[in-house]
């Protein structure tokens, strides 16, 4: 099939339907609303369900219902709506129900603004809900990845019986790029644990309650095992020019796109920079980062926030090499020229000697 010029937000919906998604429950919010609008058009056409919920609280609980019934279901939102969904995400993880939620991030806290920011990292990746659970999180950096990672998200959700969030900043949601969609549509599958309203599935129960401490601990351990498996098997990241990199830049989403241009630019000056782009934010590519610490002198994390993922980078490196940070926020993206300056400065400062406590913040959010 020929490539199609399409918005990232719309690509999510088409890819979801091709992946067998047949239910969308959501509440409008900029910059994610095109997802609801495309879902309202395409899900009924595909024989699926679209309901505009009365709130994100209801939307996430509708996901819970659809997932209980064994249907591939999704929703989408942005910062404020994601905050409201956190209780439901905890229930979904607790009841081991798969679903996909797209978070097209905007500026916070509070109402903030609707321009792109990456301040949702903590609430989405660390989990803003209660209890010992994790959310698998995929971070597309192009419209093609909006499609591909959405399809992957449904497979991971089923494989781990856990909610999966596709988290992209407003840029990736709003921009248009050529996308090639899956050539074949997947048939909606069936799940042995689903509650379908028939004799075979009558004994099934979707629930997150385990009243007895021993039983709940056993359940939590079981969830933990799944997360450990994900950490071994589901990590994805992209290496760009890291082969001989002395400075490793770390960024995801739109930032990674800008960082690629920065790598090309500073390499012209002889600065050996490379980029590690996490594609899964949880599980985080810690092992891959640690491997780069053998040759790199310094790491520079760039985010459109005051520094959230940088904590995971530091945890991954466990002090092996200095980790510097540069952030813009409030809806401002760093320009390539601005970042070239930062990289030059970091390169000048950093020596090839291991300085475990030289962990500094270069600059914080001067947007």
């Amino acid at each position: 099939m020929a490539k199609q010029l399409i918005k990232g937000n719309e690509a999510i919906v088409k890819s979801a339907v091709l992946a067998g998604c047949r239910a969308y429950y959501g509440y409008p919010i900029t910059p994610a609303s095109e997802i609801a609008e495309a879902a309202a058009l395409y899900l009924p056409r595909a024989g699926g369900v679209f309901v505009q919920a009365e709130s994100e609280v209801s939307a996430v609980n509708m996901l819970y219902g659809a997932a209980s019934a064994g249907v591939r279901a999704m929703s989408a939102s942005s910062g404020p709506g994601m905050s409201l969904m956190q209780e439901g995400i905890s229930y979904l993880a607790g009841a081991e129900l798969p679903c996909v939620i797209a978070d097209i991030t905007r500026g916070g806290p509070g109402l903030g603004n609707i321009a792109p920011e990456q301040g949702d990292y903590n609430q989405v990746v660390k989990g803003g809900g209660h209890g010992c659970y994790r959310t698998l999180v995929l971070a597309p950096a192009s419209c093609q990845e909006m499609a591909d990672l959405t399809a992957l998200a449904f497979d991971l959700a089923d494989a781990y019986r856990n909610p999966v969030v596709v988290m992209a900043d407003g840029f990736i949601g709003q921009m248009m790029e050529p996308v090639e969609f899956a050539a074949k549509a997947k048939a909606p599958g069936s799940q042995p644990w689903a509650v379908e309203g028939n004799r075979e599935t009558r004994p099934n129960l979707a629930s997150s309650i385990h009243l007895e401490p021993d039983r709940l601990e056993q359940h939590i351990r079981h969830l933990e095992q799944k997360y450990l498996r994900a950490e071994r098997e589901a990590v994805r990241c992209e290496h760009y020019q890291t082969g001989d990199a002395e400075i490793v830049l770390v960024g995801y989403g739109i930032v990674a796109r800008i960082l690629k241009a920065v790598v090309d630019e500073v390499r012209k000056e002889g600065i050996k920079a490379g980029l590690l782009r996490p594609i899964t934010l949880y599980p985080f590519p810690s092992v891959q980062l640690r491997a780069l610490a053998r040759q790199a002198h310094v790491f520079l994390t760039v985010e459109m926030s005051t520094g959230q993922m940088v904590e995971d980078v530091r945890l991954a490196l466990e002090g092996r090499k200095p980790v510097e940070f540069y952030g813009r926020c409030g809806g401002n993206a760093p320009s390539a020229a601005e970042l070239v300056q930062v990289v030059r400065e970091v390169a000048r400062r950093s020596s090839p000697v291991l300085i475990p406590d030289a962990i500094t913040k270069t600059e914080v959010c001067h947007g």
Binding site: M1, R22, R45, N61, A66, A69, G197, I254, I258
Partner: protein, 485 residues
């Protein structure tokens, strides 16, 4: 079910829709976890009986709440979904929509349904979801130990209204049936009570009717059950029942608040799902093919374009057509809009990249083409145009005090005015596109034309845009020729 010894007749058989034994705390028990005299136990039994009588056990999915009835799934031998506090109607909505053949009911207390879950019940009712709701009103929070409920009666003492509910502090008891009866969609709303045998019989009938409505596909039904909570009320079961009978019914009058079961037709069944092979067409994935024979893929191209102007000047569309044409030529492209309040306050812009190499960043900070439809945009972005780049500006000349950076070509043409001569000033963006093609010329006309075709759906506009494009080309040709004379 245990065998009946000979010589005995079964008068009150356990409903089949109940499990034989209840598993709790790792032990099998015959008793429910409800307190003696609790209305929940009785309500459960009536629901189970109705399921038996309607022969729908295999199809039923019970959605349990958070409250004393959180463990309803211990008892109902049906499909079970346990939901978060107050959210059962949202959960039930999606279960039913996913499995239209299933018979889905939510079972909720007054805190669950009428406090934390008010939005969910109101909207499920208003959408007329084809589900059944059993609403147990005991005027108190049972599970958490006796706090005030939205249905707590005036003067009633609870742990959080220790002096008795005071309308000036806690407001008045919420009347759910009356509230929902203001909506058009619900098909059946009835309030019943468990105050004596007669009331219980009526309750039983209402419960069965509410399930029957769903079997018939009629829509949203809710039965509110005034129910004793002897434990929290600190009354013995008989006194608690008396309170329901004497006090509660006065505040919450039993009765039918809505019954449209005779006049309401069954909801239409959803249309059959299309085949998988039809999905690419239904998802508009087809029709993006383009025959490139004879067209050269421009080599070494790296256009970094910024298009900017007022909302309504077609800035975003102009960018889209450019990107689309690039894609048709098998080039790498990206289009990134400004969005949000900026758009609403009147200005809008987009970044377009068209290159023969992979595009790293879709953001255009330094442009080599600036298409400025108005003066503020020109002033804002002209400084970022690189040497060797182009500025096209929607006027006869640059405004006072504005100069282009050294080595930047400037083409000033009143595009909107020219479009006006075609009868449609809104086509100014396409006149500008024509001029750009003439000036910077790397994109073949055939690709632009096809891109226009893909983005302009109305035949009238397509014809107009084609003329606009030609007008732009011609005007630019003349301007450029003059410039070099």
């Amino acid at each position: 079910m245990a065998e009946v010894p000979s010589g005995y007749t079964v008068l009150h058989e356990r409903p089949k829709a109940f499990y034989d034994t209840f598993e709790r705390k790792g032990e099998l028990q015959q008793q429910t976890h409800y307190c003696p005299g609790c209305g929940h136990g009785l309500a459960h039994k009536m629901i189970a009986r109705a399921i038996d009588e309607l022969g729908i056990q295999d199809r039923v999915i019970a959605v349990s709440p958070v409250g004393c009835s959180v463990f309803a799934y211990y008892y109902f031998d049906t499909g079970n979904v346990q939901s978060a506090h107050g959210r059962a109607p949202a959960v039930a909505t999606a279960v039913k929509r996913s499995r239209p053949e299933a018979i889905v009911f939510s079972y909720q207390g007054d805190g669950d349904l009428a406090a934390i879950g008010t939005a969910e019940i109101l909207h499920a009712a208003n959408r007329g979801e084809n589900i059944t709701v059993f609403f147990v009103n005991n005027a108190i929070y049972g599970m958490t130990g006796g706090q005030m409920a939205p249905t707590t009666m005036l003067g009633q003492r609870t742990t959080t209204s220790p002096l008795g509910r005071d309308p000036f502090n806690e407001g008045y008891p919420l009347h759910v049936c009356e509230l929902l009866a203001t909506l058009e969609a619900p098909v059946y709303l009835e309030r019943v009570a468990l105050g004596n045998a007669k009331q219980v019989m009526a309750a039983s009938r209402a419960i069965k009717k509410a399930l029957t409505n769903q079997v018939k596909g009629l829509g949203f039904s809710l039965v509110e059950i005034l129910s004793p909570c002897p434990t929290i009320w600190k009354l013995n079961p008989a006194k608690a029942q008396e309170r329901v009978r004497e006090e509660m019914v006065k505040v919450f009058p039993p009765g039918v608040y809505r019954d449209h079961t005779t006049e309401r037709a069954a909801r239409p069944a959803p249309p059959p799902a299309p085949g998988l092979d039809e999905l690419p067409r239904l998802l508009d994935l087809e029709g993006h093919e383009f025959d490139r024979t004879g067209l050269e893929r421009p080599a070494g191209l790296d256009l970094r374009i910024k298009v900017a102007g007022f909302g309504g000047q077609g800035v975003l569309m102009l960018g889209e057509v450019l990107a689309e044409a690039g894609l048709l030529l098998d080039l790498e492209v990206s289009w990134l809009p400004s969005y949000g309040p900026e758009m609403r306050s009147g200005t809008s812009n987009c970044h377009v990249r068209i290159a023969d190499q992979t595009i790293a960043s879709p953001l255009v900070a330094q442009s080599n083409v600036l298409l400025a439809m108005n003066e503020p945009s020109l002033r804002k972005f002209i400084g970022d145009v690189e040497t060797g780049g182009w500025v096209l500006y929607n006027s006869r000349s640059l405004p006072e005090g504005v100069t282009a950076p050294a080595g930047v070509e400037v083409l000033c043409i009143p595009f909107t005015e020219l479009a006006d001569t075609l009868g449609e000033p809104k086509a100014g963006n396409i006149v500008m596109l024509g001029a750009l093609l003439e000036a910077a010329g790397q994109l073949p006309a055939a690709a632009i034309d096809r891109a226009l075709e893909m983005h302009v759906k109305s035949a009238r506009w397509l014809e107009l845009d084609r003329r606009a494009l030609e007008l732009g080309r011609e005007t630019a040709r003349k301007e450029l020729a003059n410039a070099y004379v």
